[in-house]
Symmetry: C2
Subunit: 215 residues, 2 copies
DNA sequence: CCATCTTTGTGCACGCGTTCACAAAGACAT
DNA sequence: ATGTCTTTGTGAACGCGTGCACAAAGATGG
């Protein structure tokens, strides 16, 4: 029987082995002292707890650049998700297949949700339409939403929203990038100056952020 | 002078006002007691601290469905990012413009990075190519990477990687969705049964997760 | 100039997640 | 059987982020 110890798993994942054991203990998964965890059983237990043994139908609303890319993405199926329908407001797109799935018009949104028993919706419309689309999804029975539009969605209790904001991801990287440069400058005072780090051009007072700096 | 109090800001953002004040205090003491914060000055200070006053050139590697969607996305420019170049390994794409920017071949990756002084790279290649692309980006001087490929990237110290895994976002939603159903079932024992919640089909023992469940 | 009122900045305490450390459980050899 | 050795499961300690509460700062009005 193939087994793994918490120590091995922790090393591979780069986490603390005690934390890993405590986490597993919440699942009630039983390891064997002196041996470790039965790999197959462990994988099954975690998969089940995470809902990976189920098959979730999802709808994507807004089949533009991003929505089409998502529809074409094959990685969802292997994680237990099935694109049940594609929905767009553009009448010209209705009927056209994207990734082999015909795009349907927003008018039929409620029916599509209900016919397919969908509880997870993806919003890839422009920001201006997102709240309205969200409201309709929720009214039709969707209780989990993945939002790509750069807007905060208001939803009733019991509905989960996750927002994916790619600009913020870049901003976080840029923030650290800026700090790297700052630390290097500070280090250069006491140590040998490191190779020059590239710096972006400062927008100066004409950027799209306020340039006024009161005393 | 337009001002805003920590209480107002906290209410708008849905956070605690004390935490908000403490966070601001790390940037320095910019408030006026009895009045609040000068809006314009505050926005400038935060923008500067976050690096939004700078203009960061980024390259996107892998101009497929996702890479093209990113290239077409106008939301980056307003946050201080500029798509400096698009890179793909497919010779058939070389020279073709995507979002008005000509796609360049991977052969020139190092030169492109250096010519444009790029320190932030976006990887949207298939998973198999991601590590190799990452290595080349890092060797050419990139120190921050936004990775869309479903792979863990190994990078040397000093290089930041952020991974965007859309499947995991859906999995997190599905996980909570599953728990909602479970809690309702439990609640139904003691209270009036709520409206039936839709449940996805269980893959059963034939899913792509192990189905063996040892005693 | 003094009183009052508003709002900041922050010391302190609380709670929660992480880590340490070890007793107990079980495998395995003799 | 008995002893040794490995690894789990978890109580207890630690550290850190969050929130409370209040003194000090400064505006504002009389
Ligand atoms: N493309 C990206 O890389 C990217 C990155 C980050 C964020 N976003 C955000 O994702 C969203 C979509 O981006 P995109 O580049 O695909 O835009 P897009 O303009 O290419 O696509 C938007 C689609 O939504 C459809 N639509 C408009 N209103 C609708 C409605 N009420 N109901 C249904 N469909 C409607 C349009 O017909 C269009 O097909 C935007 O909010 C954008 O800010 C995109
Ligand atoms: N499309 C999505 O919605 C989505 C969602 C989640 C994750 N992803 C991930 O993002 C990545 C890209 O997805 P996609 O749908 O755009 O795939 P895609 O196949 O449409 O595009 C991949 C592109 O990368 C190029 N490429 C391949 N090897 C390369 C190399 N060594 N150097 C440079 N370019 C190379 C290909 O020529 C192609 O243009 C994949 O790893 C995918 O798993 C995509």
């Amino acid at each position: 029987m193939p087994t793994v110890s918490s120590e091995e798993l922790a090393a591979a994942a780069g986490v603390n082995s005690a934390k890993l054991r405590k986490d597993f203990s919440y699942l009630g998964s039983y390891g064997t002292r002196g041996v470790g965890y039965d790999v197959e059983y462990l994988v099954y237990q975690i998969s089940r707890e995470l809902g990976l043994t189920q098959d979730w139908p999802v709808v994507i609303v807004g089949i533009g650049n991003l929505g089409a890319a998502l529809a074409n993405y094959g990685g969802f199926a292997s994680r237990g998700f099935r694109v049940a329908a594609l929905i767009d407001a553009d009448p010209a797109m209705a009927g056209k297949p994207v990734a082999g799935i015909p795009v349907q018009h927003t008018d039929d949104l409620e029916r599509i949700i209900q016919d397919n028993g969908v509880s997870i919706g993806v919003i890839a419309t422009p920001a201006g339409a997102a709240q309205q689309v969200c409201d309709r999804l929720v009214a039709a029975g969707v209780t989990s939403i993945l939002n790509f539009a750069p807007t905060v969605l208001n939803v009733p209790d019991g509905v989960d929203v996750r927002k994916v904001d790619l600009s913020i991801e870049l901003q976080i990287l840029a923030f650290h990038e800026q700090r790297k440069a700052g630390e290097e400058a500070a280090a250069a005072d006491t140590a040998v100056a490191p190779a020059a780090r590239r710096q972006p051009a400062d927008k100066g007072p004409d950027g799209d952020v306020p340039a006024v700096m009161p005393a």
